[in-house]
C-alpha cells in the first residue's frame, strides 16, 4: 500500500534541534508543561465481538507445500492417455472457481456423458488444517455418506490416492493428494450395475491416474 511517509525526528534529535533553534521559548514551555503535569493519553480501540485476542497462529502451523498455483484456467490433459480418450482440447472452467490467499479451487470439465472428464483441484496455500489431514477426512466422509462406492487405495500417483465409483454409477472417481494439492478426477462410464463396481474401478484406474498426473504436471 503506497502511502506518504512522514517520519518524525527522534526525540533526542528534535530536542537538540529545538534547543539550537529556539533557545529562549522552549525552556519556558517545558517548565509550564512540567508544572501543570499534563500528559497525553491514548484510548485503545476495542476488539470486534467474537475476536480471539491471542495472536494469529504462527507460520509453522500453517499448511505449506510445493505448489502455489495452477498454470492456466484449466489443467491441460495432454498425456498419451488423454490423447487416446480424444477429449476436447481445452477444459471448460466452472463458474465456481476461487483464487484466494488461503487456497485456489478450480473445477473444469471436458465433454459430457460417457468418456467425459471432470477435475476438481484444490491448492492449499495458507489453510489451518494440514492438506494430508483434510484429504483423508474428505475421502472417509465421501465413503461414509455413500457418495463413493467400492473404494480402494491406489499407488503410483501423488502421495496418497483412492479410487471408487460415484453414487451416480456413471462415473469412476480418483482422489489424489500431492504435497499441498488435492486433485479429484471423475471419468464418465456407462451405467454400471452393482455387481460390476469393483471391476469398473479396476479397469479405469490407469486412465484416472494418468489424467491426475497430467493435472499435477500443470501445477507451479
Amino acid at each position: 500500500m503506497a502511502v506518504p511517509r512522514l517520519r518524525l525526528m527522534h526525540p533526542r534529535t528534535r530536542e537538540k534541534a529545538m534547543s539550537m533553534r529556539r533557545p529562549a521559548v522552549v525552556p519556558a514551555l517545558a517548565v509550564a508543561l512540567a508544572l501543570t503535569g499534563c500528559g497525553i493519553e491514548s484510548e485503545p480501540v476495542t476488539a470486534p465481538p467474537g475476536a480471539d485476542v491471542s495472536a494469529a497462529p504462527p507460520a509453522s502451523q500453517r499448511a505449506a507445500g510445493q505448489y502455489t498455483k495452477l498454470n492456466g484456467a484449466c489443467p491441460a490433459l495432454d498425456g498419451d492417455t488423454a490423447r487416446k480418450l480424444k477429449l476436447p482440447a481445452t477444459g471448460k472452467p466452472a463458474d465456481v472457481n476461487a483464487d484466494t490467499p488461503i487456497s485456489q479451487i478450480v473445477t473444469c470439465t471436458w465433454g459430457t456423458g460417457v468418456g467425459s472428464v471432470t477435475v476438481l483441484l484444490t491448492i492449499d496455500r495458507d489453510t489451518s488444517t494440514p492438506t494430508a489431514e483434510q484429504f483423508e477426512k474428505d475421502w472417509q466422509a465421501s465413503v461414509a455418506d455413500g457418495r463413493t462406492l467400492s473404494p480402494k487405495p491406489v499407488d503410483g500417483v501423488g502421495d496418497q490416492a483412492y479410487a471408487g465409483i460415484h453414487r451416480d454409477r456413471q462415473s469412476v472417481v480418483l482422489s489424489v493428494r500431492s504435497s499441498n494439492a488435492r486433485v479429484q478426477v471423475s471419468y464418465g462410464v456407462a451405467d454400471t450395475p452393482r455387481a460390476s463396481f469393483a471391476a469398473t474401478v479396476e479397469r479405469n484406474t490407469g486412465t484416472l491416474t494418468a489424467l491426475a498426473q497430467d493435472v499435477l504436471d500443470d501445477l507451479g
Binding site: 518524525l8 525526528m9 526525540p11 522552549v26 497525553i40 470486534p48 480471539d52 466452472a94 465456481v96 451416480d168
Partner: protein, 278 residues
Amino acid sequence: MTATPPATSSSYTPVAIEAFQKAVELVEELIKKIRDELTKLINGVNAFMQAAVDKVNDSILGSVVELFTGDIEENLKKIKSLTEQVRDKISEILTKAAESVAGAVPVASLFSRGFEINDQVTRPLSGMFGEMTGSGEIDFWRGPAKNTYEKRVQDQQDAVTNATAKVKKLVEYLGQAGAGNMAYMASLGERLGEIYGSLVTACIDLAETASGALTQAIALLMHFSEVIGTAAGQIVGYISQLGARITEVLDQIMQLEAEKADLTGLTPEGMWPSPVSD
C-alpha cells in the same frame, strides 16, 4: 426395450458436492482468518498509539515539538476513529458471510437430494418401461381383448415416460439451484480473500511505520478504510443477492411442487392407467 439410464443434469457434476463443500470451507476459513487479522491490526494500532504517547510523554521537549507541529491528541482520535470504522465495516462483512455459511447446509442437500432421486426414483422408474412389454403367448391373441391389453400397456408405458420426465426435471431444478448457490459461495470466498489480503498488507505497513509517525499512520488507515469501505459495499450488496437467490430457489421448488401435482399425461383423470384386469 432396455432401461434408459437416468440423465444427469448438466448443471452439476459428480464433483459438485465436493466443490461446494470446498467453497464453504474456504469462506469459513477466511472468516476466521479475517477476524484474527483484524484483531492483529487493532492490537497493532493500539500499540502504535501507546508507543507514540509514551514517546511524547517521555520527552517534555517532544511534547513541545508536537504542540508546534500538530495536535497529537487530535491525530490519535483520528487514528482511533478510522480503526473503529474499519473494525465495524469488517465486522458487518463477517456477520453477513457467517449467515451465508449457515444457509449453505440446505444448498448442499439440494445436490444430495438430486443424486438420491436419480438413484432411487428415476432409475427404477425408467427401468419399468422395459418390464411393461407383453409376455407369454400374446402373439396368438386376436380380437378386442388383445387390442385393449395393448392399449393399456401403451398407456402405462406413456405414463412411465411422462413420470420419468417429471422426475428428471425435478432433479435438474435441484442441480441448477445448487449450482447457482455454489457459484455464489465461491465468489464470496474470492471477495473475502481480497479483504484478507488488504488486512495483511495493512498490518505489515503499520508494523513498518515509525512509532511517532502519526500522520503516516493516519494516511495508511485512511487508505485502508477506503479499500475496506469499497469492499464492504460490494460484499454487502453481493450478500443481499443471496436473498434474491433464495427467493429464486423457493420459486423453483414451488415449480417443482406444481410439476409434481401436474398429472397430465397419466390418464384424463390424472390417475395411473389401470391394468386390464380392472
